[in-house]
Subunit: 753 residues, 2 copies
């Protein structure tokens, strides 16, 4: 399934739980239920929901913590043991994430397999057996007809008692009913318990990894519901890729497990390193491709990916792959769903069709992104998006109705792919292998059937209206025609061997086309090639695969710069600072900083000389998330920076707990007290919440350098000075707005801080 | 050869051209000859040799250049075409690098193969045929004895005319003589023409990529000599890995090709991006592993590796692999030297020996690094290092003497490995395959021979004294005993099939041990696994391979934190800011900045009010490579930063070309002129060389953040301010010295700026 579904899984983004989660990102909308695990005691150094973290501060905090533990460890044995356990906790956490994600992925595979079969019939020996297991246990199964055994009853057989003829309608009805039930359950569960469980999850995870906070997005309810609905959605026959959801599931596991380790619970930056590794784990279990997973995390998802994270991801992906292999959901002792080998070496001239397929894939990928975004925008802005349940049910109904009649569309797409790609053996019962074909069909028509099947399959779910489906089916058929062009010029009826070769050739081209499309949609290159050869063992084909993915990326990039994930991030207005593209405009820090020339001057605090009341008034009058502290209003020489949240909490705390604090009490940011009259009320000392090393740039600093600093250091804000005088401030949001403006987009599309 | 040789190739570091290049890093020592290509017109914005570049400045320069081209392109068609060609020049450059490196690598492979055979005999049909080609052309070759044909004469046959008996001594003599001749030629060439062609090259390339300048290190003479000596050294039978030298060769190609593109010739940062890609190309052609190469560059060599470079590396590695495949040096239409498949799936319990082998490999790797560094230090500090030519000849002599008698040590290590790893086929003439074994040896003794052979082989060259060799041989034999333990508990003489399995088992363990050792020496993880499965096609073994390499890395890291490359970088005192390890000490910027409290105050320039004479005196009195510019000596408010080199050049230029400039002329760093008396001589305006946006930190900024900024932004220096007043400066060298001090090492070991 992965390949197919990766291509179309993005559809799910706008799809499973829909309207309810995209349009309403406000925290108030996420039910309290899912916040339980993520709630931390409000206090200094934490962040509001839907805000961006300060990487530098978080990393400093972690280093302080580490130093403290190291120092203590010199004095007592207990502390030493604690320090050692702390040092290993990262690896332990990785181990646990790998185990948990691997086990979940194995469970999902097994459950989805069973429920997919449940749509067709039930096992009399025990309803918990799937079709294959049911017939394994049977003594009456012959090798030729592995699929048929008396214990396995279709619904028609069970209810009417006959297995031939018109009862097929009954089977069809049951099939559609089950599919609708599964889909309905999935949508209802998501809506009721975990709106965040919707969609692919990768755009949000990418944003979270870049330093954004969405509480509950990786919570336990999301995990539970996402796991269940993934099984339901896959079983209902909807065409969705497991890799996005599995990355989300793995990240949820990681986030939940982080709560058992102080080091990671308390530190947003460290937690993000773990999440980076978890996204590698997700891909590792989705495809059985551990190295591909690591590269996926590096190339596609992660924002900050130091070598240490690389090694940890590698370890976690290894454990997860190993766990999955031990569970052995596919019963073949392999990590992967289908193990294909292209045994024939390739010729130089073959590069031409491969590159052509790359071009097609790139075009198709770019078109897909465009259409997907246009559709999402439509749903967001019109009434279309108001009926998510109905929408899902309609799509499921259409898919199920269309899928049942043809054998190839009915099988799960992983089965279909192995059917298409596996070499024909003598014991193979596949109809695609000429010699067991019972209908006297020619290879040509068999291929045509397969092509039709594929067309319908791929068309079914990805896109939501009949027109859209039709267009998709047409395009796909056209492309498959191109891909299978080799068949038509070859003499078809020579002998068996030739048929096999033809099939191999056609499936090879189809495979390259799928990969190129995937490359065009996601703009992955290295990771895609690695995943593909981990998936198929096609080591011989590295060079052509590289050529195809690279071409696809070039073509797609030429049409639009954004991958599907970035397009969705932008659609949702997340504050994501893209690291791929350089900022190339010749603007200076002075052009971007606030206040603008016409605005009132910057709101600053002075290090001494302000009263509690004055500070509180400043807080009430402004909405800034932080204030610079200067020596005096006249000199504007910078002392430090204080965050609004810290300031509010500290002042409240002082008012409540510190004796004698009144509105006229002085607020001091200095370490030493200035001389004060003995009759004055005690001062509120806030030196401890003052950041004495805020980042500064000068007014002349080109924005390209500022953007670079923000990206590389993960800043949240930066102060602008000239000749030692504080002049303004630049926040991440200012930068994103400026970038949007420079790219002629609406700067107001950036919604969050 | 790669596996073996990678393990021991580091030896070459201290080895091929030696003393002459490590101890004397001073520019004066590198002959003028090799500087031709690297000479740029001295001018503003260039760097001195053995200095560190400023990444931020270089990248700004490139963006300015890009903007200028884009702006011009709107006005004329020619400029538009130029702009398009400029945009594609990066990819074109990658294409050229791939083609050139692939061609060179192919040539090296072919030449080395021929010259290795030349040591044993010559082809009568034409001396330019190697043994294999000679016998291919012959009609008298039977399939069973492919190796023997009348056209191929050993030296003894040619000179004495008989082929049996005691003439073996003559063959042995010729073998040794050729080996000595090759080795002598190699050393002489390096000494005479390109001292920089010595050693592996990877530590220097790593340093260059981090922003250091070593002129001539990647010049055309280095390229020519390195290519020739690589062939000679490999042919002489010395145990050296091709991958280090090939990375160096690819980087030379890249550097030379950069000179044809203004964009890269003029910009040190852009050139380093190209070099990162080139090091991927080097590994790609060394192992035929393009993806492994990209990951090697990412994990091991590169300092700054944005996604754009990832894609370009990927493309260049692809082209290089493709070129190599087209040249087809191994005559098997594959990219790799040996294509091995472990067909048998592995069992869970097998993980235990694999992990044990990982531990052994890690221990051995750490020991190897330690011994290698100790030896290099000894050679550097004692008279031992004064006789490089003799040293090389002695090692070659010993290797050749020991290698000749045993068939397995005589064959090149790539042949040996394929001999060991390939499955036994019916047509296989290898003695290791039981059924064609003409001596009635049992499988056990065959394995013993192989083990002996391996022991001798690996012992031969890596280390330079007999004692060392002995120890190495002992350790290796012990380890091989452990590794082949499985053989001894199995019943050996059951039947043929069993023998094959045993060999597969033993070679599997040996393979894992080699990989773990390599992991222990270089601390590669992901890249190593990818290289290995690109090399062998052992896709089934991803999980155990990952487990072994990860274990090996852990064990080796526990013993010492540095890989062999980093250890050599430190040994040579290069200014390399390691990105792997976090700086964890609680020092502040104020503890590291210059001037220290007892020192005289910081030498600064004022933005106006200084005369040419004063500035020149300041330059003469100090050796700093740059000066901060402040508003006035009293306020110490920072205006900007000016580099010594730029200042010197500008003042000289003004003195020479600007009329009326005398010693009392004012030097102005302001944009607008201050009021001056009409009688005053014309001022020298240096506003254009002033960097108005120097990086600043405050005195309170923790050093961990400062280190992070230096690493991530590639800074060269950073100014320290407090409340708007300039207090000091921190340079990269200060940071490296501070880090050395904190790690209880000699801070004076950091030699360069």
């Amino acid at each position: 399934s992965p390949i197919f579904l990766l291509v179309s899984h993005e559809s799910v983004l706008c799809f499973v739980p829909l309207g309810g989660c995209k349009a309403d990102w406000r925290p108030s909308n996420s039910p309290k239920l899912i916040d339980l695990l993520d709630d931390t005691v409000p206090g200094i150094g934490t962040y509001e929901d839907f805000n961006t973290i300060d990487w530098v501060r978080e990393k400093s905090k972690d280093r302080d913590r580490h130093r403290e533990i190291t120092n203590k460890s010199k004095h007592s044995t207990v502390a030493l043991l604690f320090s050692i356990s702390d040092a290993f906790s990262g690896w332990l956490l990785m181990l646990l994430i790998g185990l948990m994600s691997g086990a979940l992925a194995g469970g999902i595979d097994i459950a989805a397999h069973w429920m997919t079969d449940l749509k067709e019939g039930v096992c009399l020996n025990g309803f918990w057996f799937n079709h294959e297991h049911c017939c394994w246990a049977s003594n009456e199964t012959t090798f030729q007809e592995r699929d048929k055994c008396p214990q396995w009853k279709t619904w028609a057989e069970l209810m009417v008692g006959v297995s031939e003829g018109s009862v097929n309608v009954l089977n069809h009805f049951m099939y559609v009913s089950w599919a609708l039930l599964f889909a309905f359950l999935a949508v209802i569960l998501v809506r009721a318990f975990a709106p965040y469980a919707c969609g692919s999850g990768i755009p949000e995870i990418k944003t979270i990894l870049s330093g954004f906070i969405i509480r509950g997005y990786l919570g336990k309810w999301t995990l539970i519901i996402k796991t269940i609905t993934l099984v339901l959605a896959v079983s209902s026959g909807l065409s969705l890729g497991k890799e996005g959801p599995l990355v989300h599931v793995a990240c949820c596991c990681a986030n939940i497990l982080c709560h058992f380790f102080t080091k990671y619970r308390r530190n947003e930056a460290k937690r993000r390193e773990v999440l980076s590794a978890a996204s590698a784990v997700g891909v590792s279990v989705a495809f059985g491709a551990p190295i591909g997973g690591v590269l996926f995390s590096l190339e596609e998802v992660s924002y900050y990916f130091p070598l240490k994270t690389l090694w940890r991801s590698f370890f976690a992906a290894l454990v997860a792959a190993f766990t999955l292999r031990s569970i052995n959901p596919f019963g073949n002792s392999r990590l992967v769903l289908f193990y294909v080998e292209f045994h024939t070496p390739w010729h130089l001239l073959e590069l031409i069709p491969f590159v052509l397929l790359g071009i097609f894939g790139g075009l198709w990928g770019a078109f897909f992104i465009h259409a997907n975004i246009a559709w999402c925008r439509l749903r967001k802005n019109t009434r279309l998006g108001h009926y998510p349940v109905i929408e899902v049910l309609v799509v499921t109904l259409l898919t199920a109705l269309l899928a049942f009649p043809i054998e190839y569309t009915r099988m799960s797409s992983s089965e279909l792919i192995s059917e298409l790609f596996n070499d024909c053996g003598l014991l193979d019962s596949s109809k695609l292998c000429g010699y067991t074909s019972n209908s006297g069909s020619t290879s040509g028509s068999v291929n045509a059937t397969a092509a039709n099947g594929l067309g319908a399959r791929l068309a079914g779910p990805g896109l939501y209206t009949a027109m859209w489906q039709l267009a998709l089916a047409l395009v796909f058929k056209m492309l498959i025609t191109v891909a299978t062009f080799g068949i038509k010029v070859t003499d078809l009826d020579v002998f068996l061997k030739a048929k096999q070769n033809i099939r191999a050739q056609a499936s090879k081209h189809f495979f390259f086309f799928l990969i190129s499309t995937l490359g065009g949609v996601t703009r992955m290159t290295v990771s895609l090639v690695v995943i593909m050869f981990e998936l198929t063992g096609g080591l011989e084909y590295i060079v052509p695969l590289m050529a195809a993915t690279m071409t696809s990326k070039w073509v797609a990039d030429a049409l639009s710069r954004e991958s599907i994930y970035e397009a969705h991030i932008r659609l949702n207005g997340y504050p994501f600072l893209e690291a791929k593209e350089e900022f190339r405009h010749k603007t200076l820090a002075t052009d971007v900083m606030r206040p603008r020339q016409s605005d009132p001057p910057l709101s600053v605090l002075t290090q001494s000389g302000m009263s509690v009341e004055e500070v509180e008034r400043l807080i009430a009058d402004t909405t800034y998330s932080g204030f610079p502290v200067v020596i005096s209003q006249q000199s504007q020489r910078l002392v430090g920076f204080v965050l609004r949240r810290d300031l509010v909490i500290s002042l409240e705390n002082a008012r409540r707990h510190q004796e004698g604090v009144v509105s006229v009490s002085a607020v001091l940011f200095t370490e030493c007290d200035p001389p004060a009259s003995p009759s004055a009320p005690p001062a509120v000392k806030l030196h401890n919440i003052l950041d004495l090393s805020p980042f500064t740039v000068t007014v002349h600093t080109p924005m390209e350098i500022v953007v670079d600093i923000f990206r590389k250091l993960g800043l949240r804000q930066c102060l602008v000075i000239q000749n030692g005088r504080l002049l303004g401030i630049i926040t991440k949001k200012d930068i994103l707005k400026h970038m949007a403006q420079m790219a002629n987009r609406d700067p107001e599309s950036i919604l969050f801080n």
